[in-house]
Each structure stands twice: as C-alpha cells, then as structure tokens.
C-alpha cells in the first residue's frame, strides 16, 4: 500500500504558527520563516497607463522590476504585495482587471548569507545577478513560485497555498540535509 509521508500532509496549517527554521547551506547561515501577513492583488491590463490611473499608483515599466510593492510579471500583468488590509480601487468601467488574491498564496522569507544557495537547490534561475528590487515568476523543483529580492541576502518567496506545505518542507529539509553534510 502506498504510504504518504507525514511531512506531505502535516503542513496544511502552516500559514499561521509555523516557527522559523535556522540552518546552514554550503556552510552559510540561512533562516526560513513564514512572511508577515500581506494583501495580494493581481493586476491585468493591456494599457499600463489605464491601470496606473485606475489604482492611483506607479507601475514598473520593466518586466521583473518592483516599485512600491508592485512587480511587473509580464507584458500585461502586475502583482502587488501590500501591507495587510490595503484596498485598491477596482477600476470599474475601465479595461483593467484589479482582483484581490490574498488567500491564493503564502509567502516565505529566505534570509541570510546562504539564502541564494538555499534557493538554488531547487531554482535554476541565476540569482547571483538578482538584485534587491527585482521579482519574477519561476520554478522551485516542479512548483511555480515567485521570488522577490527584497533586500541584500533576503528573498520573499510566493507560492500557491496548496503547494506551500511541500515547498516549506523542501526548503527546511534542504537546510537540515546540507547542515549534516557540511
């Protein structure tokens, strides 16, 4: 009979109350922790100007860049990570889509001198040149994530809620495993 490891199901409530995990990757310290509660908005528009006017905020021009908590993910797609409870005007009547998606994703912070190495275990992106102020969608192993470089050696990882337990345990297992090898 197929047995499902406890790790695969036990983390379903990790959005609240999961303690930070400290460890080493490649001999460098890393701390992973659930991010503070945030409000998330998915923003879509062909015309960036119309969207910017609708929500009353500046939007980054370049894909992969963040301005004031809003990342440009694609030619017609932005994603906002804002303080909990922030409400954006909906842009009624305008050719834009402004949708709150707070409950869709969970955020983790990966912090420390070994943060790049911890993420590089599962993410093939070249993070060496991924400076603070950048954000992008990418993959960790087979799971789609967003990685935001929020400060030096500090990354915010967004992942869809149903994948979050797996990602959390994968990151935590990486810290433990490599700590044993160092």
């Amino acid at each position: 009979m197929l047995e499902i490891a406890p790790l695969a199901v036990a983390g379903i409530d990790l959005a609240t109350g999961t303690a930070a995990v400290n460890g080493m990757v490649s001999g460098l310290p890393v701390c992973i922790a659930p991010a503070a509660p945030l409000t998330r908005w998915s923003l879509r528009a062909r015309d960036a100007g119309a969207l910017s006017a609708a929500i009353g905020r500046a939007l980054p021009d370049r894909i992969g860049v963040v301005i004031d908590g809003i990342a440009r993910l694609g030619p017609d797609e932005w994603y906002a990570l804002l303080p909990e409870g922030t409400v954006l005007p909906g842009g009624a009547g305008l050719p834009v889509s402004v949708v709150e998606v707070t409950a869709r994703a969970v955020g983790f912070t990966v912090e420390g001198a070994g943060a790049v190495a911890a993420l590089a275990r599962g993410c093939p992106l070249d993070l060496a040149g991924f400076a603070p102020g950048r954000a992008t969608r990418t993959v960790f192993e087979t799971v789609e994530v967003q990685i935001w470089a929020t400060a030096p050696e500090t990354y915010h990882v967004e992942v869809w809620r149903s994948f979050a337990p797996w990602l959390w345990h994968s990151l935590a297992a990486g810290l433990a495993l490599t700590a044993g090898l160092d």
């Binding site: 894909i63 992969g64 993910l73 694609g74 030619p75 797609e77 093939p124 992106l125 992008t136 969608r137 990418t138 993959v139 789609e144």
Partner: protein, 95 residues
C-alpha cells in the same frame, strides 16, 4: 540546462520555465466553414518536421507567461533566435 532568451523578459532564462507550443506561423483560417475536408485536415494536423532549423512557438509559462516564436535546430537543440509573437520570422527561417 539550456538557456532560452525570452523576448519579453529580455533575459536568458532556464529551459524548465518554458513549454513547447508546436510549429509557428500556422495561419488560422479566416472562414473555417469554407474549408473542404482536406484543407481542414491540413490546418489541424499537417505540420512540417524538419531535420534542422524549425520555426516554433514557445511559452514562457513559469515566467512572463507569454507565447513567442523561436528558430531552433532540431538536431543540435540550439536556439538560433527568439522573437515576439506577431513579428516576422527572420530571413531564411524555416517555415
């Protein structure tokens, strides 16, 4: 790991972020009902399968999520060039 240049992100990105989308520059019939069976079959199913340069669609699914086009060599797997959807294939590209 192959790096693929996304013309929207303007970056070389890892292959696992992309999905393949079949042959590029297949014109969708403007009036499908006017096609006979052979023409409809050709539109739906008949594709080139070259040994060498091939114009094909790719999607940066786990990145900017956009479809774009590429000229790739099916023997070496080398990407010669990538360009935005709607742009002309470069001169000499396989069609």
């Amino acid at each position: 790991m192959i790096l693929i240049h996304c013309p929207y992100c303007e970056e070389d990105r890892p292959e696992v972020e992309f999905t393949y989308g079949g042959q590029a520059h297949i014109a969708r019939p403007l009036d499908p009902a006017a096609l006979d069976d052979a023409e409809w079959e050709s539109f739906l199913y008949i594709r080139s399968n070259p040994r060498g340069r091939h114009a094909e669609r790719w999607r940066h699914a786990h990145g900017c999520a956009r479809f774009f086009n590429a000229i790739r060599d099916t023997v070496t797997d080398r990407f010669e060039v990538t360009y935005k959807a709607g742009e002309q294939a470069p001169d000499g590209a396989a069609r």
